[in-house]
Amino acid sequence: MSAVKAIAVHVFRESVRDRVFYNLVLFAFFMISASYSVGLLSAGQEVKIIKDLGLGATSAFGLFIAVFLGIGLVSKEVERRSLYTILSKPVHRHEVVLGKYVGLVLTLAVNLAVMVVAVYGVLGYISVTESEEFKRGWEAPAVDPAMLTAFFLIFVQLMLVTVIALFFSTFSSSIVAAGLTFGLYIVGHFNAELRALQDVVDAPIAGFVATALSYVLPDLAAFDVSADVVHAQPVTVGYVLLTVAYAFVYIGALLVAAMAVFSRRDFT
């Protein structure tokens, strides 16, 4: 377990050295400039749009970090041959995979935490500066704790995307792994369409295959509760727990698969 911890800390430190956290400056700049321009353009919808933008930008920034760091965890190390140094140490290969995953999840967690603070900061500023009469028109308060549910599910979704990237990087080059991860991210939002295919096509086999695929592929749309939260619609604890359980099961499966592939891979 100490090996996993050491590798995880190493991955986190490396991401700091690689200036990954510079994206937070960009994020903060984006949020502040967006909140200013949205105020001029949106005809009274500032809070809704800033919440949408905050959640959307958190998801997008997190996605790029998860994919581009995730694919580099193994494949880039193989390409740079730095992996051999790690493997020469007394660590198991599955510990390397697990440690790298935990390290990247830690990086994501710190990133997301800062982004959440930035979004709440902008919303807090609006809440303080707007009149009470104007606030009465808001569907939900600007600084709404319910938004934390949406941020949490975005984080869990990114944990899933990270493990997908990690899995692909154990057996392919970084470019291929990035393509496959982005591809799966997109397909992961079309599960409902895949299931509906059997009602549209005449071929029952194609319909069955599409339905089966929709259950096997990760259902990433389930993690998106942004619209509900922004419109003050309830997101039940049961839904959140089931979604998180689904993510953890899927993450577990892909982690084991990544460890198995990585353990059997011949690096000579």
């Binding site: 949106s42 005809a43 009274g44 919808q45 959307g56 998801s59 028109g137 569907e139 079309f190 619609q233």
Partner: protein, 310 residues
């Protein structure tokens, strides 16, 4: 020993001050060149385009970012409406307004202000709007489908039938449906009754705009409904002023030439002003009273015909 050109360049670039100055100068030069290039290019009026008209396709393409894309289309709808309305061109077209609102509300089916914006401004007669109450009703039906618990959309639907289509039977039906929703205000039922009895009454119009003003969830809609209420005030003022003119005419035998005539005859305390402070215009030749062309209250609404006398 003389340094080679590549070494000299490398050393020079490393001096950050010099490099920054060169980068800034080149960027500035690019701006100047762009400006010079644009000077001789004839400016053609931009035609707005909507490349993707299928809301369902956009909904799929947006992945997890539906709400952000909906916001972008909402802002586009606002800009399209505002730009077209303020345009001086004779061949105005609001063709994109409904598709933009439809896309925004498909991507975010609970986008309240987009529905209410559509309800009011899709019905606005040309050239101040597209004059399409049918599209407004379609948009409001969509809102009711997604949020059947909200009585405001049913009231707005009734309002479109009342104000734009002058179909008081249908308007009353929608007001009654709105009034049947739990939590809706009690006056909706009485409004349904009076609409059926005396449709076209200005008092009803005022009551409707007043309710829209009070239930509006954003500043912009509040301002717009306030403007409509002031237009109704102006119509009341004009009716009153015409009565004074008629009274003056019956006493003196002639229509007044200007407001000062009425003021001197003690029919008016001063030159009458509209709710925004612009003087009303007296037209002796046509025996009418109007709003100043500078007043933001123009154009005044065309009132629906009354179906019955109370």
């Amino acid at each position: 020993m003389i340094a080679r050109p590549s070494e000299w360049t490398g050393r020079w670039v490393r001096r950050s001050g010099a490099a920054t100055a060169v980068v800034a100068s080149l960027l500035l030069l690019s701006v100047v060149l762009q400006l010079l290039n644009g000077r001789d290019t004839p400016t053609t009026p931009q035609t707005e385009q909507l490349y993707l008209r299928s809301a369902a396709t956009l909904d799929r393409m947006a992945l997890s970012f539906d709400s952000v894309v909906a916001d972008v289309y909402w802002i586009r709808a606002l800009q399209h409406f505002g730009r077209t309305r303020r345009s001086e061109r004779t061949e105005k077209s609001y063709d994109l307004l409904y598709p933009l609102l439809d896309i925004a509300t498909t991507l975010d089916p609970r986008f309240n202000v987009a529905y209410r914006f559509g309800a009011i401004f899709l019905t606005e007669p040309f050239p101040d709007g597209p004059g399409r109450p049918d599209q407004a009703v379609a948009l409001l039906h969509k809102a009711t489908f997604h949020m059947p618990e909200r009585w405001e959309y049913l009231m707005d639907t009734g309002f479109v039938y009342y104000w734009s289509l002058h179909d008081y039977v249908e308007a009353a039906r929608w007001f009654r449906r709105a009034g049947a929703i739990p939590g809706s205000p009690s006056w909706l039922q009485s409004l349904a009754a009076t609409t059926l009895a005396i449709g076209g009454n200005r008092l009803d119009s005022r009551a409707l705009w007043q309710q829209i003003h009070e239930t509006a969830t954003d500043e912009w809609l509040q301002n717009e409904s306030l403007r409509r209420l002031m237009q109704l005030d102006a119509l009341d003022d004009i009716d009153g002023l015409l009565m004074e003119c008629e009274r003056f005419s019956s006493i003196s035998g002639s229509w007044p030439d200007d407001w000062s005539t009425l003021v001197e005859a003690a029919h008016l305390p001063a030159t009458p002003l509209d709710p925004l402070g612009h003087a009303y215009l007296l037209h002796p030749s046509t025996r009418t009273v109007g709003v100043s062309p500078e007043s933001p209250l123009l154009p005044l609404p065309t009132e629906p015909p009354r179906v019955a006398t109370p």
